[in-house]
Symmetry: C2
């Protein structure tokens, strides 16, 4: 009735919580990797992450590992997908609950510690040769990020509390990898009603000062889509049939 090992042969899978942390640096989308200290995959670049502690929450494990290995904290974190294909970890059956996180491009001190021998921000193109199936996790996270850009307010997570519309536009352009029209972008983003002027401006160079904006409801990432099929609540008199009760068969 007692067990003392984490070696293969254990009938329960190993569960880890891992994070893909994105930021925008030097006008480019980058993500945070650690160089692994130990086997398996010692010396290779990998996502920050760790096995779950007893009774630890999944998000908590991701944030704890992130802080311990890279020194990064205070990120916006969301669960991404759970990876569990047999063979993905040489130690045996291993389930990775992957998360993704976004941090403002501001100054962030990185500090490699714990399992991390080194830490760094990498561009997408440099992340094809990672430990485990982490390249696949990165690809999934990136796809999710791009998709969510258009119908949610995640983009704001890359910016500090106050920002200019040009900065916001640059976030979209960097992630979407295409230039956007300034006027149309402004109309579009303001129509979502997710941000408001602070009333202040920022002066930064020999040009007209930029108005500062803030997120209206800073707590949360919200859905800002407006689409639906079909239109019109049907024939005037008609009513949706809500049928009988009880499980069937």
């Amino acid at each position: 009735m007692l067990t003392m090992h984490t070696a293969p042969g254990n009938e329960r899978p190993l569960v880890t919580s891992d994070v893909v942390v994105f930021t925008i640096r030097d006008g480019e989308l980058r993500l945070l990797l650690i160089k692994r200290r130990h086997e398996p995959h010692g010396g290779r670049w990998a996502l920050p992450g760790d096995t779950l502690l007893p009774d630890e929450d999944l998000e908590h494990a991701a944030l704890r590992a992130l802080a311990a290995q890279t020194g990064v904290s205070g990120v916006y974190l969301e669960q991404l997908y759970t990876f569990g294909k047999p063979g993905r970890d040489p130690r045996g059956q291993a389930i990775s609950v992957a998360h993704y996180a976004l941090v403002p491009s501001e100054q962030l001190r990185l500090r490699a510690a714990g399992e991390a021998a080194a830490v760094g921000w990498f561009a997408r193109e440099q992340t094809s040769d990672l430990a485990f199936d982490h390249a696949e996790i990165v690809a999934t996270a990136h796809a999710r990020l791009v998709a969510k850009l258009d119908y949610s307010t995640i983009a704001f997570q890359f910016l500090p509390a106050e920002f200019t519309l040009s900065e916001l536009q640059r976030v979209y352009e960097t992630i979407r990898q295409e230039a956007l029209d300034k006027r149309n972008f402004r109309k579009w983003i303001l129509a979502r009603r997710a941000i408001e002027e602070t009333g202040e401006v920022r002066r930064d160079g020999s040009h007209r000062p930029a108005r500062l904006y803030r997120v209206k409801y800073p707590g949360r990432v919200e859905i800002i889509r407006h689409e639906r099929p079909g239109g019109t609540r049907g024939q005037p008199g008609r009513e949706m049939a809500l049928h009988e009760r009880g499980p069937s068969q």
Copy 2:
């Protein structure tokens, strides 16, 4: 180096793969529940699911448990979310990789077996008192289903290979809980270009026969949204700055 128990005290969490199976029955969205045979929560209704077998894939476990406990197979399955809050299972730390599945409303033989003492299709309103945190999983699955309806082709998974536009409209109406305008619905769905006429018709009653349609690319559930911010690929001459290489800091 050997272990022979599944009892608490194990330092690794228990991992289960569970499924929320939706179908449309009697004009209503319903989901498949089993009555648990054993503790914990013996006698209560719960989602089909089971602990992972050694080296078993997550999807495979969900499909295996579904077939074993309910007799249902051949479903469209997608991973939903992973639930792992401490305390969600009285046996100790337990991670549930939840999936959701869609099946056509056709005749499906249910057959309770294994952990399932009984099986049945239940309406949403009847699923508030489930074992574990399964009510929360159901709520998450339902929200995902509703959201995906509008921007993907999942709705087709509720229908057999050939179907009429009225049947398809009924799927949308049932899930969205509102009636839709027939003409607008048809314009909308045909504009997505995801379905095509088979050339055949179905005669069912004393009325005009209905044209049959099929999904163009039956393999996959696709994204059919068309939205983007900003418009216009920027000032003509301008080029996106793609900056320097190498990890920073």
